[in-house]
Each structure stands twice: as structure tokens, then as C-alpha cells.
């Protein structure tokens, strides 16, 4: 049985059990998101996919689609709120795009382009976060972590290794590696793990391939993330990050 709801006035079909995000994505509609990934259970933490349903705010990744829903997504009000959320994420970490190997393929950066973020607006935290280069094939740069938990979910649910976890509370929350030493080299993590390619930002980086595709020719350099995500869905590709 197929029903439908309205997304910015356009009819979107869904099957019972689908979330607003799942139905919208299946229909080739882009709702900005960071912690959601089609292959993993919804996390609902980044709030970037917040939409307005019947006048109230809700995260599209955790809200079940229902017949007759009137969902607002691309309004200036929501874009402004998403811009603020992204500004908060940028100042909470150390996001120096010019020196990041993921620049141009980074979902955080591309999302900020999408909402026209020109400034960080807030004061920077400039947190002191370590880099873990212990693993022979993979570098961890925690400076860029947005705590989406995609690596946690991928490692646990797909790789069956449980390499990553979040630790701490509030502003002190941070990603950790589950080994006695806390180093990635002391886990059974492999560069072929699903968790190694799911990071939407530049935390989990494969070594020695950083600039194989030059900056300026990467995923979101060529086209905005909204267009890229829709194209990937049309091609039946898995969405990266």
C-alpha cells in the first residue's frame, strides 16, 4: 500500500514504516542531514534534517511518514536554523578546510555551502584534540569529529568490531577508540572496514590517498550536495557519509 504526504507542496509517496527522510530520499528529494545514512538506523542527533510538520519541528530521520502530512523543508526559516546548527558545529571543532584532505568531499562543508554559511558567527572553541596516526593504513583526526556516530554504527553493525564509541557528556563528549591503549593500532580495525569510509567529515582518513583527486575536482566541488545526493539516489548508488 502506498500513501503520500506533501513535502514543500509536492506529493511524496511512502510505504508504511518509512520515515519522512527515507520516503523523501527514495523520491529524490534532498533534506539536509549529517548523522543519517540510508544503511543505518536513524540516530536523530545532528538535527540538521529538522523539518516542520503541521507547524511543529521534527527530525525527518526519526519521524514516521503519515498520509496527508504537510512537511516544510526548504523554507528560509529552516535554512536559517540549519545555518546556525552548522555554525555551532564548525566552532565546536577545529574545521580548517584548506588543510583537510576531505575538503570538497566533506558533507559538513557541503551542507554549509548549501545553506549559504559565510561565517562561523560564534566564537571558536579551538578545542585541544589529539590526532591518532598509529594505524598503518588509517589516520584519525579528532579535530573534525561532529559525533554523528556513523563510524560507531558501521563498526558495530556491519564490521562486527565495535572499534569506536562516544565518551563524555555535553561539551566534553568525544569519540574514543575501544582499545586498552586508546590507539587505533591496537584494535582489529582495517582500511577495508565499512567504518573506514562512512565518516562524513575528515576524521577517518585512509593514508597515502589524500590528494589522489585534487581539490576542486571532488564530489561537491562539481555540484552542490543537494544535486549530488539526488543524482546518487537516481543512480542507485550508496550515499557516501
Amino acid at each position: 500500500m502506498t500513501s503520500s504526504f506533501l513535502l514543500d507542496g509536492e506529493e511524496v509517496p511512502f510505504t508504511p514504516g518509512q520515515t519522512v527522510m527515507q520516503a523523501a530520499s527514495a523520491a529524490g528529494k534532498y533534506i539536509p542531514h549529517l548523522c543519517w545514512h540510508p544503511d543505518f538506523a536513524a540516530h536523530g542527533s545532528c538535527k540538521l534534517c529538522t523539518v516542520k510538520i503541521g507547524g511543529g519541528f521534527a527530525t525527518a530521520c526519526t519521524t514516521r511518514a503519515a498520509a496527508g502530512q504537510d512537511v516544510e523543508n526548504g523554507t528560509e526559516e529552516l535554512t536559517a536554523k540549519r545555518r546556525t546548527l552548522l555554525q555551532l558545529l564548525f566552532v565546536e571543532g577545529n574545521h580548517f578546510c584548506p588543510s583537510c584532505e576531505k575538503s570538497g568531499s566533506c558533507v559538513l562543508q557541503a551542507s554549509a555551502y548549501e545553506v549559504g554559511m559565510l561565517s562561523p558567527h560564534f566564537d571558536h572553541f579551538y578545542p585541544d584534540r589529539a590526532v591518532d596516526a598509529s594505524h598503518p593504513d588509517v589516520l584519525l583526526d579528532f579535530n573534525r569529529c561532529i559525533m554523528c556516530e556513523l563510524c560507531v554504527r558501521a563498526s558495530r553493525e556491519v564490521d562486527g568490531k565495535n572499534v569506536f564509541a562516544l565518551s563524555g557528556r555535553g561539551a566534553k563528549s568525544h569519540l574514543i577508540v575501544n582499545s586498552e591503549s586508546g590507539r587505533l593500532a591496537d584494535t582489529d580495525f582495517a582500511a577495508t572496514d565499512r567504518a573506514a569510509e562512512v565518516c562524513p567529515v575528515g576524521v577517518i582518513l585512509r593514508k597515502r590517498v589524500g590528494f589522489a583527486v585534487p581539490i576542486g575536482q571532488r564530489d561537491y566541488d562539481a555540484r552542490p550536495i543537494s544535486q549530488r545526493v539526488v543524482e546518487k539516489l537516481a543512480d542507485g548508488e550508496q550515499e557516501a557519509g
Partner: protein
């Protein structure tokens, strides 16, 4: 290259523009010069006050101030405040001005340790090298800061550096009295 001109159909007074590089590499200024021959229509609408182009040392009353680089020492703070006091519209130009950029990547290190390593214990130093200590030298700050953390900034133009096309599009809109926006390809953080 954009074919957009600055012709507003009349001849208003020239806007005064000042530019400066704080803790930056002058890459944004070089990118500014990448507007190439479009500098000619620009010069019909603006004249430069303090800038590397004029070598004027202090900023007078201006319409637009362009700040390249972050704030890493006491002189940067002084210059930035002078710009804010004199410029009606202040623009943070480039990644360093916007978020501290490359220089801010020292922010998690102890300043004293950095100075020791650079001037006393690092490789290739002459024997007896000392940390410079001259009243003429501005004192470094413990951390490098984005310019908006020191003074109010009106507009931000990110990029390392922003392209000549982005700078042109931004200034064109501003001079025409519009709030500048940058579309895909012009808005880049790297």
C-alpha cells in the same frame, strides 16, 4: 570571467576602500589582483586608502575595509580596531580572517613552547639563537583569533583564498548596495 559591470547609470562619488593583511599570507590580496582587467571598472568606482597598493600606513575614514588574516598579536588587534573605527563596512576576507585559518592551528600548543622550539631548540639554528625581544616587536597572543572575535564584522568572504571571481562578485554586489551572496563554486572554504 564575469561580464557584469559596475555601471550604475550615473556617476556617484568614489568609495574609499582600505585593505590590510593581519596574520595572513597576502594570498587574499593576490587573489584580489586576480580580478585582472576588471580592476579598471573597479577603479572608476573606488579609490584605495590604506592598502599594500598605496603603502599608506594608517586607515582614514573609509566606506569599505577588507581584512585579510586572523589576529595573532597586539599590533593586529590595534590595526583591526583602527579599521573598525574608520570603515563603515568591514569585510573578513579569506579563511584566516573568518576562522583563524592556518595560523590558528597553533592554538592547542603552548605559545612559550612554540617560541622555544622556533628560536632556540629547532633544527638549523645558529648557536646562541634567542627568542627575539625588542620593544618594536608586537607581542604574540596566546591564541590566534578570527577577526569577528575582536571587532564587529559586517560581511564574510570565506576561501583560502577566495577566488578573484568570488571577490569580484562580492564587491560588485556590495558597491551596488546589495547584501552580497555567493552561489555554488564561488562559496568555497578551501
Amino acid at each position: 570571467m564575469s561580464s557584469e559591470t559596475l555601471d550604475a547609470g550615473m556617476t556617484p562619488r568614489k568609495l574609499k576602500v582600505a585593505t590590510v593583511s593581519l596574520a595572513g599570507c597576502f594570498g587574499c590580496h593576490m587573489s584580489f589582483l586576480d580580478i585582472d582587467e576588471r580592476i579598471l571598472p573597479l577603479l572608476e568606482r573606488v579609490e584605495f586608502d590604506r592598502s599594500p597598493i598605496t603603502d599608506i600606513k594608517h586607515c582614514g575614514p573609509c566606506d569599505i575595509g577588507l581584512i585579510e588574516g586572523g589576529v595573532c598579536n597586539a599590533e593586529n588587534v590595534h590595526v583591526l580596531r583602527e579599521f573598525r573605527a574608520n570603515c563603515k563596512v568591514l569585510i573578513a576576507l579569506g579563511a584566516c580572517a573568518v576562522n583563524g585559518g592556518l595560523p590558528a592551528q597553533r592554538n592547542h600548543l603552548e605559545l612559550a613552547d612554540i617560541l622555544q622550539q622556533v628560536y632556540r631548540t629547532g633544527h638549523g639554528l645558529a648557536e646562541g639563537s634567542q627568542i627575539p625581544n625588542d620593544p618594536e616587536l608586537p607581542l604574540p597572543l596566546n591564541q590566534v583569533h578570527a577577526v569577528h572575535e575582536v571587532v564587529r564584522i559586517d560581511y564574510f568572504l570565506p576561501g583560502c583564498p577566495p577566488s578573484g571571481d568570488a571577490i569580484w562578485a562580492f564587491l560588485t554586489q556590495l558597491i551596488k548596495g546589495r547584501a552580497p551572496t555567493l552561489g555554488h563554486g564561488l562559496l568555497q572554504y578551501d
